[in-house]
């Protein structure tokens, strides 16, 4: 029994030698936290009555979660059937006349909850990468040059606290004006969400990188000077490694912001994604809506948490200072 428990706990990164005390600490305490939360939720939910009925408790939410999965599977089945029928039809056509022209039409079904999760994830990662691609190099350049730093710092400080909701109308207008093409590679809504996310999550990475770069120890700079390292070698061998911890602090903050901003932007702009899902359910106003929204809330939280863990893992991988405790 205890050996099974040990095996189960291994992937959680728990120490090999588990005594009772550490087992309680590692498992029982968080578990009881969750249980207390579920209890309060349950009791609270029963006492909140909305125009759409009682606020959903844990059980209803669980049911809605299963429902959403079911809907997704049904939709996938429909899609598969659709293509099957089309293939059959085309095959028959070809049998009669090998020269016949074949048309393959795409399936245009409703986006399910799972599809929306996928869309949101792709958008947030794209926006986050775009932002990092700008913020890290810009942070390095600004951090290495005091004049540039003083020049740009006020601008950065000004834009850093701006809410995504303020950017969104501007971005939407600009994207519709500038991004015109007959056969666009990406949907406009995707570009709008991406730019909004980037604009909001750029700043923590930019600032942290700049600070990390500008606080490199004078001794290491002197080593670089004595060796007459070229600018590029200096940046690659000395600047980036010593700024890595700060860069990652920034990246983790940025990714967290990106995820929060994306949901808000999708909701407001009606761009595909989890935000739109929540908004649609809210507009639907069926008796299940609140439960379904609650599923989305939990999923959003879980994904945000997982994104942060992934960044943490990456940080641990590239960090040279193994004694530093990362959490």
């Amino acid at each position: 029994m205890s050996s099974i428990a040990l095996k189960l706990l291994k992937p959680l990164g728990l120490p090999d030698k588990l005594n009772l005390a550490s087992l309680i600490k590692a498992l029982v305490v968080p578990m009881s936290g969750i249980l207390i939360f579920l209890f309060i939720w349950n009791v609270g939910a029963r006492n909140i009555h909305t125009s759409l009925g009682e606020f959903p408790g844990p059980t209803q939410v669980y049911e809605q979660g299963l429902n959403l999965l079911d809907e997704h599977n049904r939709e996938r089945q429909k899609e598969a059937d659709f293509y099957q029928r089309q293939d059959d039809r085309n095959a028959k056509k070809l049998e009669k006349n090998p020269e016949a022209e074949i048309k393959i039409r795409g399936y245009t079904g409703k986006a399910t909850f799972i599809d929306q999760i996928g869309t949101s994830l792709i958008t947030v990662l794209a926006g986050f990468f775009a932002a990092s691609l700008i913020a890290i190099p810009a942070g390095i350049v600004i951090g290495l040059n005091k004049t540039l730093y003083s020049a740009f710092n006020p601008v950065i400080q000004l834009f850093k606290p701006v809410s995504p909701l303020a950017w969104l109308p501007l971005v939407t207008m600009v994207v519709s004006a500038v991004y015109v093409s007959d056969d666009p590679m990406f949907a406009k809504s995707f570009i709008t969400s991406l730019i909004t996310v980037s604009l909001c999550c750029l700043w923590p990475t930019l600032l942290n990188t700049a600070v990390g770069v500008s606080t490199i120890s004078a001794d290491l700079n002197n080593v670089s000077k004595v060796l007459r390292l070229s600018w590029l070698t200096h940046v690659i061998k000395i600047v980036i490694p010593s700024a890595i911890p700060m860069i990652f602090t920034g990246l983790r903050l940025s990714l967290g912001i990106a995820w929060m901003v994306l949901i808000a932007a999708e909701m407001l702009a009606q761009n595909p994604g989890l935000g739109k899902f929540v908004w649609d359910e809210f507009q639907n106003g069926s008796s299940n809506s609140l439960g379904r929204i609650m599923v989305a809330v939990l999923v959003i939280g879980l994904i945000g948490f997982m994104l942060d863990r992934i960044m943490l893992m990456l940080q641990k991988k590239v960090s040279w200072d193994k004694t530093q405790e990362l959490r």
């Binding site: 001794d219 290491l220 080593v223 004595v226 060796l227 070698t233 000395i238």
Partner: protein, 299 residues
């Protein structure tokens, strides 16, 4: 014999800009150093030893006067004037080997093949007895080992002049004695020109051909120069009772604690300065005693 001076500082002044106007740290520093000479700089804390070294390294620019190395003016840092920093200054994300490699790749990128570089890196780490731990990172090795790697890195650049800023300052007496011996061996082999800053009178006498004693700042300059004519190779144990050795020691001590004793009255922080000087004197004496003791035990 030598037609031209190897390294020459002439009339070096330096002013540091401070909020309350320029601060003259050095004034009219003149010094000539021959090829292969081992010179140490000694003086009270804050007098400007590191500043002199940094000017020779090219990290600071003299406000007036300048430095000539083999007839060429020094105005930027370069690997021919390798520096061993007081706090090792190894890149913490690289292993000992990689730290030396960074320097070797930079200096010999056009003149050595990959295999030759590897051999050269290993050779230099071997010189400082770091073969066994060359693939460890700085946080995995002791302070003395880090300092060794710092020395190996400097040696590997094949510098014309080695500049060492209190290379053993942060080490315990036993480790320091070991490293001093290693340094003397290496110096006997390679015959580098070395300028070393030290606070330790014994270290200065044991290692140097000449000891340059600096006056107190501000506007510090070269006070006296003491030529140490002890036979090489030198053995610390044999020298401990040597009257000549003790004579040199006494000369340096008297310069530091009699001639350059800071006036107590009128000083901004008289008490603090005074205690500091006394404690330095005490440590110097103590270290000497400890070093000898340690060697006796080792023998």
């Amino acid at each position: 014999m030598a037609t031209k001076t190897h390294l020459e500082l002439t009339g070096v002044d330096i002013d540091f800009p401070t909020p309350s106007g320029p601060f003259k740290a050095l004034s009219n520093v003149n010094l000539k150093i021959e090829r292969g000479e081992f010179v140490s700089l000694i003086g009270h804390s804050g007098c400007g030893k590191s500043t002199v070294l940094n000017i020779v390294a090219g990290l600071y620019q003299a406000t007036q006067g300048g430095v000539l190395l083999d007839g060429k003016e020094v105005n930027e840092p370069g690997p021919e004037r390798a520096v061993v920093f007081q706090n090792h200054s190894l890149l913490p994300w690289l292993t000992a080997y990689e730290n030396v490699e960074l320097a070797v790749k930079q200096v010999f990128k056009n003149s050595k093949s990959k295999a030759e570089m590897k051999e050269w890196i290993e050779h230099n780490l071997h010189l400082v007895h770091m073969d066994h731990a060359m693939h460890k990172r700085p946080d995995e090795i002791s302070g003395g080992m880090k300092q060794r790697v710092g020395i190996a890195r400097a040696l590997a650049m094949e510098p014309t002049v080695m500049l060492m800023d209190e290379p053993f300052g942060a080490l315990d007496a036993l480790t320091r004695a070991h490293l001093q011996d290693s340094l003397m061996e290496i110096q006997a082999d390679l015959n580098n020109t070395v300028i070393m800053i030290t606070h330790d009178v014994d270290e200065a006498v044991l290692l140097s051909d000449r000891i340059v004693m600096m006056t107190n700042g501000p506007a510090a300059t070269v006070g006296e120069i003491l030529e140490v004519k002890l036979e090489r190779p030198r053995h610390r144990l044999a020298l401990a009772d040597d009257p000549e050795y003790n004579h040199y020691r006494a000369a340096v001590l008297s310069f530091l604690y009699e001639k350059q004793r800071k006036p107590v009255e009128g000083n901004a922080a008289p008490v603090a300065t005074d205690t500091k000087q006394n404690s330095v004197a005490a440590t110097a004496e103590e270290t000497a005693a400890k070093t000898v003791l340690a060697d006796e035990q080792a023998a």
